[in-house]
Amino acid sequence: MIDREILLAKIKTTPYKPMKGKIIEARMLTEKEKFFRIELEGKINLSHEPGQFVMVSIFGFTEAPISICSSPTDKGFFDLTVRNVGVFTDKLHKLGRGDIVGIRGPFGIGFPIDNMFGYDILIVAGGLGIVPLRSLIRYIMHHKNDFGHVQILIGCKTPQELLFKEETKEWMRRSEIRMNCTVDRADPDWHGNIGLITTLIPGVDIIPARTYAVVVGPPIMYRFVIVELLKKNIPDHQIIVSLERRMRCGLGKCGHCQVEGVYVCQSGPVFNYSQLRSFKGECHEKAV
């Protein structure tokens, strides 16, 4: 708890100054995604909620918002997984063990874990969506007896793009979790499902009033997945999403992440579907 107060005090007094974060482990997960394990100066715990994000600084290359993919129950470090898509992430990919990055945060509102206690959980991850969801999955595993049945659906374009391969295998082996994977395009070694992630939802067995569905993926995926979840009669406020937006400050000031009147960096990135529904037309993730 003390760590959390240190971090909150930092945001209050010097909100733009990053802390020192040391990369203690770095490895490529796929061709495009790299995994980083980071230790903060003084080994203080990031004390985040699953679903929150940090602003990662590389001096000379400014900052980018990155989802935290470890659980707060993983102590002493936190994990990030980053796809190489631009100037900043390309530079980040060139860093390795022992290198230093700047860290501000954690920012935003994470998954509503307190509300989710006692409920069944259906996790739907599309593509990079598994990255922020890994923080939730790991949290649930560390508190398994607090939650009901847990089902995980993972979808990605090809088997090569599947992230956290070893870990997902382990999740599959666990008896208290049901897991299902699908790929858009298979290769000869693939023995799982083929097709979009939406095809997996009609088959899941849930009691809608007792289920929280947590969905993270590209904008277009939300639109179709949410329709399927609504068909299953899951209440709007029990459908949880996380929105990706451009962010430059994390403090609800710079304006880039705004969806209508809402700053995603402060009021999100996690929202429920009844919040999404109240947007008039600027929210790409909302089912039409």
Partner: protein, 346 residues
């Protein structure tokens, strides 16, 4: 002393005095327009001016502001600004004071912004009340900002041979205290002030075709209006409207390296929601792609979202966005077109 008076012939003497107490910024002429500048010679100051090209926001929210210094190896950050200096904004219109009040709300909301708050802390505002319209572009009456509504230390009103000064803070009182040529206002001065305000009512008329409440309700209902398509078609996405707006505060963050390539400075610089890539994420998805959506966003950030959040309109009525627009997009016309559409619908 709540109200004081100063004779016009003593004004320069007083401004000289102000100049000695703190850095003084005031409006002066630049070709056919006006700008706020640091004042060396008090004769440069113009009290009769149409809104300056940029609002005084450039002094309390600089276009390019230092956030901190950094060193890459070894990793280190340090304060970029050692001390903030006291300054006086002189002869600020009531619309621009309303703009400062809006900025206060934004930067005070947690997490607070220390850079802004430090600058604001050092600011003294001496306003001047307009007795006639600056030009046809202003919509201050509809916004209720044609008259003073607080937010200043001193407010000057022209009473003909003298100015009456409303003293609105201790800071303001210190600037008029102990000066032989500034006297307490008497009953006659107060009566004159009332008369001036009364005369203003005949000059200043609401520019929108409906009350502000109605304007808000219309925005609430007309998100999908074709008015936005029309504005979007004309807009050239230059971002002038947001740069000159006293309540626009969006920014981007940039790093500048020194020649050593080991140390540098992180800045924030003004950015505009009208820019093409403003809401585009690294993966390529652009969350506000069209100029129509971006212009609509700008208007909603003046007439809808901040009203929901802070019960405050973020249009001050200064008219700068209309005055500066290369495509002649007029704020008053846009709002009135929406109101007309609402009328047709009803």
């Amino acid at each position: 002393m709540k109200y004081a008076v100063i004779k016009k012939e003593d004004l320069n003497k007083w401004v000289e005095h102000l100049k000695k107490t703190a850095r003084l910024y005031a409006p002066k002429k630049k070709e056919n327009q006006f700008i706020f500048r640091p004042i060396k010679d008090v004769n440069e100051i113009t009290l009769k001016y149409i809104p300056t090209i940029l609002p005084p926001k450039k002094y309390y929210y600089p276009q390019k502001e230092k956030l901190f210094r950094f060193k890459i190896k070894p990793f280190k950050t340090a304060k970029a600004i050692k001390a903030f200096e006291e300054y006086i904004l002189f002869a600020v219109h009531t619309c621009d004071i309303a703009g400062i009040q809006c900025m206060d709300v934004i930067f005070r909301e947690g997490p607070e912004d220390p850079n802004y708050l430090n600058r604001k802390d050092k600011m003294t505002i001496i306003g001047i009340e307009c007795l006639e319209y600056c030009d046809k572009y202003a919509n201050c009456t509809s916004m209720g900002n044609h008259v003073p509504r607080g937010g200043y230390d001193l407010m000057m009103v022209d009473l003909g041979e003298k100015f009456i000064l409303h003293i609105n803070s201790e800071k303001g009182e210190r600037l008029v205290h102990g000066l032989a040529y500034i006297k307490e206002a008497d009953e006659k001065d107060m009566l004159n002030l009332e008369r001036v305000r009364e005369a203003k009512k005949k000059v200043f008329k609401e520019e929108f075709n409906a009350s502000l409440i109605k304007v808000y309700e219309t925005f609430d209902k007309h998100f999908a209006s074709k008015v936005w398509q029309d504005v979007g078609r004309r807009c050239v996405a230059c971002g002038n409207c947001t740069n000159v707006c006293p309540t626009c505060y969006c920014f981007d963050v940039m790093d500048e390296m020194e020649l050593s390539l080991n140390q540098g400075m992180r800045y924030r610089i003004w950015n505009s929601c009208q820019m093409d890539d403003f809401a585009k994420v690294a993966g390529g998805e652009d969350f506000r792609k069209g100029r129509d959506g971006r212009q609509r966003h700008r208007y909603y950030r003046k007439f809808k979202y901040p009203v929901d959040k802070f019960n405050r309109y973020f249009c001050t009525g200064c008219g700068r966005c209309t005055r500066t627009c290369m495509a002649q997009i007029s704020l008053v016309e846009t709002v009135n077109s929406l109101l007309a559409e609402e009328g047709e619908l009803r």
